[in-house]
Symmetry: C2
Amino acid sequence: MEDNKAMVIFQPSGRRGQVPKGITLIEASRLLGVDIEALCGEKKKCGKCRIRVESGYFQKFGVESSMAHTTPWLEEEAKFINEEGRKAGYRLGCVAKVEGDLLIFVPEESRAGKQVVSKAARDIRIEHNPAVKIYYVEVEPPTFEEPTGDFERICRELEKDYGLKNLTVDIFALRQLPTALRDGDWKVTVSVWQDKEVIRVRPGKAEASYGVAIDVGTTTVAAYFCNLNTMQVIDTVSLMNPQCKYGEDVMARITFHMTSEDGLKRMSDDIIEGLNWLVDEAVKNTYPPKKKVKKGDGGEIAEEWVEVPEKGKTYLRLTREDIEDLTICGNTAMHHILLQLNPEFVGLAPFPPVIHHSLDIKARDLGIRINPASYVFVLPNEAGFVGADNVGVLIAEEPYNSDEIQLIIDIGTNGELVFGNKKKMISSSCATGPALEGAQIQFGMRAAPGAIERIKIDPDTHEVDYKVIGRDAWRSYSEAKEMQAKGICGSGILDVLAELYRAGVIIKSGVFNKEQKSKRYRRNTENKQPEFVLAWAEETSIGKDIVITQRDVRQIQLAKGALHAGCKLMMRRMGMDKMDKIKIAGAFGTHVDRTKALIMGLFPDCEIDKILSVGNAAGDGCRTALLNRKKRDEANWVSRNVEYIELTVETDFQQHFMECMQIPHMKDPFPHLEGVVPPEVLNQK
Amino acid sequence: MEDNKAMVIFQPSGRRGQVPKGITLIEASRLLGVDIEALCGEKKKCGKCRIRVESGYFQKFGVESSMAHTTPWLEEEAKFINEEGRKAGYRLGCVAKVEGDLLIFVPEESRAGKQVVSKAARDIRIEHNPAVKIYYVEVEPPTFEEPTGDFERICRELEKDYGLKNLTVDIFALRQLPTALRDGDWKVTVSVWQDKEVIRVRPGKAEASYGVAIDVGTTTVAAYFCNLNTMQVIDTVSLMNPQCKYGEDVMARITFHMTSEDGLKRMSDDIIEGLNWLVDEAVKNTYPPKKKVKKGDGGEIAEEWVEVPEKGKTYLRLTREDIEDLTICGNTAMHHILLQLNPEFVGLAPFPPVIHHSLDIKARDLGIRINPASYVFVLPNEAGFVGADNVGVLIAEEPYNSDEIQLIIDIGTNGELVFGNKKKMISSSCATGPALEGAQIQFGMRAAPGAIERIKIDPDTHEVDYKVIGRDAWRSYSEAKEMQAKGICGSGILDVLAELYRAGVIIKSGVFNKEQKSKRYRRNTENKQPEFVLAWAEETSIGKDIVITQRDVRQIQLAKGALHAGCKLMMRRMGMDKMDKIKIAGAFGTHVDRTKALIMGLFPDCEIDKILSVGNAAGDGCRTALLNRKKRDEANWVSRNVEYIELTVETDFQQHFMECMQIPHMKDPFPHLEGVVPPEVLNQK
């Protein structure tokens, strides 16, 4: 790394890059396209730009070096940050300067723009049969003739009215019981888990109970907050996996555990804290927004926060205790790390997980702050590299109930593949890395306002048109300064490779064409690498050209090559040379342009209409397990009935991988690309 | 209270009394018969007399007054007590002086004599079927062909070798699994709870697992530490219930909860801490004792602790993790307080408990530090005033399997009665208070060395002969100074009433006879109350006469009257005027002289040979539940099939109670006392 530059990572956005030492954190944030609130114009007057400097570790450099590399604390910061905040690492972004590598957390209130949640919930059909159900009962008060205990009185009514038998009770719920019965004048609402265990007793009649389904991805964690009675998704909240600071992919996290004494506990604590943040956020959103208003007439004027409810909107005003069920899925490594199960052997051949079967664990045992008597249901794992997230995809998509031969691709930081139909199903995994999600790409970023999400390149002029998140009009219909582009998100990255190729900017091998038609192609003045300008500095909010580099192209090729090779080897294993349907799951699946995915050769050829995006199917599966307990049994069944294939042990894996990095693969006929890619491009050597 | 005196209570012995202000804590301990180690003769040189001043509360005076009433800390104490100890309230007994009411804890190492454990385990027949069993398995290591997860590999063997199916696993056990499997070279010992849940995995072959049964009495807590495989009782450890500082009986504790904001939590924390102490103690006893030895030759001489194993003895060297099961019984209030269940309604008519049914609670959820994945089994309650301890007595004695009509009396701080046979059983409770255990009696004390445990009074001379714990020879065979008497324990208290009566010192009403034959009878010089000297000052270690006062006699009468009246009313309810057998359970049951119990009218008349002592049957029952899981179901059955009778609502209860306070009850013929009590005494008016 250059001596006068430092690596800065902003969380939760994940934006990262080299910045010159000596600039303020706000200036660094601007360079990297992170929006920090700064109402006073960085005059140290508004205190809005409070950020937290994380004392994390920089796994990337092979050594653990503390990252609190900023200029020392200045007294003027004390006006906005109290002693407690100071201890927690809070600084003013307009005061503290970059002195070395830094990991910075931008708190919600300091963010200028909200992240676009890309993991929105899909409408899927779910049979209503949640694991947690509520029952209303009225009981007779005890008398000298009938002084039976409180719990037995309730059980009697639950059996009489609802047929529930042999109920047990959690000690936390039991502690609520005597007071709830008397406060409710012997009428209570009882929450029962799996028709087996009483987990909550509330006085009077309660209308609903709530649950959260959480998909713990290597990079992104998405939570679906649901009403367990109506099945309505009340809110969707997401977060960057706080473990990202220990390494971007699964193997880096496992390595961190193996090389640091309390690494497993630290990573587990971090993700648990993340889950608690998601729950808090979901709960907070059930209250009206608040506004600071001036108070008092004459004399001293005080400020206070008051609620500003939207007209006609009712607010649930829930607490953490109102969340009575939680389901979690994640890949096997995320699963193990969250539960503090040694993930070491998941990373060592033959990659056995510690457990396949689903787990019911009391939330309190994991430090998850929902109703303390509640269980967390953790979906089962298929194999070391096909985890509970893939099981989530399967119970959402149910390929095992279908005649059609389906290829289900779940692209996250790792790629997981399932192939087959009701007769037989096999699964595998491939190391796509996080490139397809925007990481490891110079101007890659998460799906947030300003991210380029669609690109078109004119084959005749090599001129670029594009669209950013948060603005409906394309570049060609806008003034340059209206675009305010910041970087490229996952869907933009998929577009760019296909467009570069279709327009002839790059050739099949991924190398830039010798014949370029615009001055967008150039060599970087510093590192001499070829790059192609997608947006000129004047169109951006970061004041510099947004480019795609030769290295970026290579990263994307590596990812898509791994995926494509995996698909092919699985088809071979099943003795099939085509499939009826391709389903793309994962965060960016929602935005992927099917044609462009086919052009770039993300997977083998398929009829374009048969390529479907199924969104965050892992999250959907997790949600079905929350709302329909039968899906939990189904998950356990499927986790043991999909055969896992280890592709990397196939002797010709490497050769396939190399071939599949090309765009599109030469040896595969791609009949469905006819007419989509110009023949002279498609048939080039 | 007199201004120049203060109330001092010593724990864990429970000795208490008024002492002059201004004396040292060691001097106070001597006055109250508590033995504190003081090798240097109170010269502030040995530091052996370290005690802890508790910042408890004095419930007795109606108000909560802090009890840290000592003279200020002196620098000379710092030589023996570090800063941490000072903060915890430690003082030197020879330095700190009494300035006001005090609650003092004498740590184990500062005690001069060990308390005699009166709650020893009895030999009872138990079918071997513990809830926690260990299974040894050898599994195949995973391969690419068979990469199944660790847990599933173990389950497969457990099913194949032992027929165990559908096992679940505790998260704490699961965390041990991958390392245990590899450390044990794929051979492990698995502990399974109720053939349902894996709670521990140890590498290699383990021979045994251990458990503890704990009887939580209002005054005494007794723990039976057992090998779950051989059923051997390895150790018995007991402790004064640390809640005693909040009040001596059940109602006082409930009142403390109702009148203090966090009273329930404080009392719960205290008893949990007590349970942890018992476990630690039991574990500690599995190591050889240690001795301090000088180390090094010439130069500096250091001291170090070295183990001094007894010859030929093997030591188990266990840890807390080795305790894998725990069963608890206690009366309903103790049950509720321990579990932090609101005990308020147990103290309010119609006294419904929060729950009858037994509970399986993870030890970690209660803060009990045994194997963290282990369950605590809490025995079920019969009713508000007949708790899980009585259920313990019942499953140990099994009157429900007998043709004989039995009266089972469990005398602790509360008296619990069960009457009936296999056809029908009723239970009740009576407020005996702690007098029969030595509390509320001026010179009452616990069963420890120096306690008078047997008394004989000569009817002709009124001279007294007695025996103390720790010395085999009676007073009549000893020199005066050899006796070193300190007080009277429970069994002595039972003796004394019968003997006073039989010898004619008191009359039936409990009042001292006008005709006294010795100068042992006198009026106290201070309070003018009649009293009778049992041991002269020269025979004691406390330097003053040990007497029994009129008020003491009244206390014992109140206790025995409540018990006797309860028995009679239960017999009436069942329409019976006699029983086949009386079983006396409880701490002092072991020591009770059956004849004397009959003489004093502790219960209705019965053939003396049919009066049996069954020791701490509650603890025995708790132990059977530990070692035979079927007994747990039996406990739940019996708790709902013994009919609870509330005696205090009977219209003539009060009249019966008054009558039964007399010695023995006039209206009952006591044929079995013929020849035991002189006719002129028995037939006096």
